[in-house]
């Protein structure tokens, strides 16, 4: 149940606005798939095409091996939760939940049973006789979820369902949706622009931008091995640091130079692709937690001497904005180290070499990915 396949899907709006280009994705049964990207990247359009609310310009959409391009939403057996909930304002919560079932001519006692069961799971039993306007945002959210649940659909589509909730409620609802997914064992397709939601909830994430898929993978894959600079920058807070540099080699190893500081590149990680980039421009990427503060003034070549610009205390950790020869670097330190750091202090940092990412400057694609592809081509 619930396998959804998108093949070469394109969406062009009247007037020639291209929303989605060549979208290929196979969503497995019971998978929690999150589509994430900045606003206008086409993620909601993909969701709406799966729902049948938006026509597919070209390509094929299969639900359970059935081509559904021309099938109207009501016959696709999928449910959707809208960003603004879209409850029926004139109906009570009970009627909102039972509407879909009563349209299907299901006997009243069975409807009643299902509605009450759903209300019990979502803890909205005492709200059944209220109208939406008498509910809080979180309660409306639950009703919207319930309206989708009562039908036992093959898949749930959720379009930024948490964006109208306040931060605290968002976090708790997030875990509840994850629990709900485990409990219902149904395919979930979830659209959000918030990478934290994507990282915490997803089995797999699709990162989109400008109508293209940039990467599909598990949260760990995206975090550890981003395919390109966009994914690297989009996933993770604070953003990954990017520094323009040039690759070089001395007798011992490959290194990149950042204002006379040599940072050695682990050859075992990147492989032979490094040869192709000798003396070429590259972008080095390093996550803020992979930056270490060093106190000894040893003669290590890879120490960067910077000045603290701003330091932000987040509670369990401290974000330190470091100015290094007019390059901005954000580092994340634990509180016990972080609290000793003051603005305008000099600071010495090194990058964990195994955690360094390298990107082609023009295509912005990760060197590691290119190397892996080379391997694949060789093996084939």
């Amino acid at each position: 149940m619930g396998v959804i396949v998108l093949k070469n899907i394109n969406k062009v709006y009247p007037g020639g606005v291209v929303a989605v280009t060549d979208f290929n994705l196979e969503i497995e049964d019971k998978e929690f798939m999150v589509l994430v990207g900045p606003s206008g990247c086409g993620k909601s359009t993909v969701l709406r095409m799966i729902a049948g609310l938006e026509e597919i310009t070209s390509g094929e959409l299969y639900i359970e091996n059935e081509l559904v391009n021309e099938i109207v939403p009501k016959d696709r057996d999928i449910a959707m939760v809208f960003q603004n909930y879209a409850l029926y304002p004139h109906m009570t919560v009970y009627k909102n939940l039972s509407f879909a079932l009563s349209l299907r001519k299901i006997p009243k006692d069975i409807i009643d049973e299902k509605v009450r069961e759903t209300a019990k799971i979502l803890e909205i039993e005492e709200l059944l006789n209220r109208k939406p306007k008498a509910l809080s945002g979180g309660q409306r959210q639950r009703v919207a979820l319930g309206r989708a649940m009562v039908r036992d659909p093959q898949a749930f589509l959720l379009d930024e369902p948490l964006s109208n909730l306040d931060a605290k409620l968002r976090a708790s609802t997030r875990t509840e949706i994850t629990k709900l997914h485990n409990r219902l064992e149904t395919t979930f397709i979830y659209v959000t622009h918030d990478q934290v939601e994507a990282m915490t909830m997803a089995d797999r994430i699709v990162v989109m931008k400008d109508g293209y898929i940039h990467q599909v993978g598990t949260p760990q894959e995206l975090y550890k091995a981003p395919h390109n600079m966009f994914v690297a920058g989009f996933i993770g807070t604070p953003q990954m640091n990017f520094i323009n540099t040039i690759l070089n080699k001395d007798d011992s190893a490959y290194y990149v130079e950042i204002d006379n500081t040599k940072i050695y590149i682990p050859e075992d990680k990147f492989g032979t692709i490094l040869d192709e980039y000798m003396r070429k421009e590259l972008v080095l990427g390093i996550r803020s937690e992979d930056i270490v503060m060093v106190n000894d003034y040893s003669d290590r070549m890879d120490i960067l001497n910077g000045v603290v610009d701003v330091s932000e205390h987040m509670g369990s950790e401290v974000f330190v904005y470091i100015d290094y020869n007019n390059k901005k670097i954000i580092a994340k330190f634990s509180t016990d180290i972080g609290t000793t750091i003051k603005v305008n202090d000099n600071i010495q940092i090194v990058f964990k070499s195994q955690k360094i990412h390298l990107f082609d400057k023009d295509s912005e694609i990760s060197l590691l990915d290119m190397e892996n592809n080379k391997e694949k081509v060789k093996n084939n």
């Binding site: 603004n84 879209a86 409850l87 029926y88 004139h90 299907r104 939406p132 039908r151």
Partner: protein, 278 residues
């Protein structure tokens, strides 16, 4: 007296004067319906007379004047107009609001253009057409054309655009509702306040309409109230009775007041509040 109090006082003064201006005609109407013809001719009075029963009896017993039939005809035409005008205007507005179809802009512009044309301009053509359709001296031409009411449509569209989110319609689609069912079960209830407002307006204008009925209706038992009132007013000198005229007008405004009282409770903004979080 502080300035804000003075302001308040002036506001109330103006409002009270305006209210008196509005209500005085009703008051005089009711007063005059209780007075005899001879008394009315003597001039204004603010006191009630004793002729209410007599005037009522004269109006109801007047052989030339089928008042009860007139009320029935007027109710039939006005209710028909209110229902058709509101239902089909919401339906039209729904299609323009929700769907994208070829010539949508053209259709919209066309409807807007019709709105500019006063009914008097097209009356002659309308009458001739009704003649050809054999619908002269029938009540049908008095309410059926209200299916196409551009002004009502425009009001509905404006209300819909601010109160009916597309997501609500899409949610109904996902729930498995057909388009027509969505319209009847979801859209119409959300549109209730707008429908109530327009139902009052269309009811009143149909109730008061004299122009078209006077051109269409010939036989006495099909006459609507405005025609009867006009008939009474243009009676010859010997039969002319102002008491009856006022009594008939008094009877004629009762249904309007009743309709207003029934529907005014629906005219509350914000039925759609809570459907969508803004």
């Amino acid at each position: 007296m502080s300035i804000s109090k003075l302001n308040k006082f002036l506001c109330y003064l103006v409002l009270i004067l305006l209210s008196i201006l509005c209500l005085i005609s009703f008051y005089l109407l009711i007063i005059n319906s209780t007075r005899a013809h001879s008394e009315i001719q003597k001039g204004f009075s603010f006191n009630f007379g004793d002729f209410f029963d007599a005037n009522l009896k004269n109006v109801l017993d007047n052989d030339q004047l089928p008042v009860l039939k007139g009320i029935r005809n007027s109710l039939f035409v006005s209710i028909g107009t209110a229902i058709l005008a509101t239902y089909f205007s919401v339906l039209t507005a729904f299609s323009i609001h929700t769907y994208d179809f070829k010539f949508k802009r053209l259709a919209f512009t066309f409807i807007m253009m019709i709105m500019m044309v006063p009914p008097q301009v097209s009356a002659l053509g309308f009458i001739r057409w009704m003649g050809e359709l054999d619908l002269m001296d029938s009540l049908i031409p008095l309410f059926l054309p209200s299916i196409a009411s551009p002004i009502v449509f425009y009001f509905m569209l404006a209300y819909m655009q601010s109160n009916l989110p597309k997501a609500t319609i899409e949610a109904a689609r996902m729930d498995g509702s057909s388009e027509f069912r969505t319209f009847n079960l979801i859209v119409l209830p959300i549109m209730k306040p707008a429908i109530a407002v327009q139902a009052i307006f269309t009811f009143v204008s149909a109730w008061n309409n004299y122009f078209i009925p006077s051109l269409i209706i010939r036989s006495a038992e099909k006459k609507t109230l405005p025609i009867l009132i006009a008939q009474l007013r243009s009676a010859d000198y010997l039969k002319f009775d102002m008491g009856q005229v006022y009594m008939l007008i008094f009877l004629a405004i009762i249904p309007i007041i009743v309709v207003y009282i029934i529907l005014s409770k629906y005219i509350v903004r914000g039925v759609a509040v809570g459907s969508v979080k803004e």
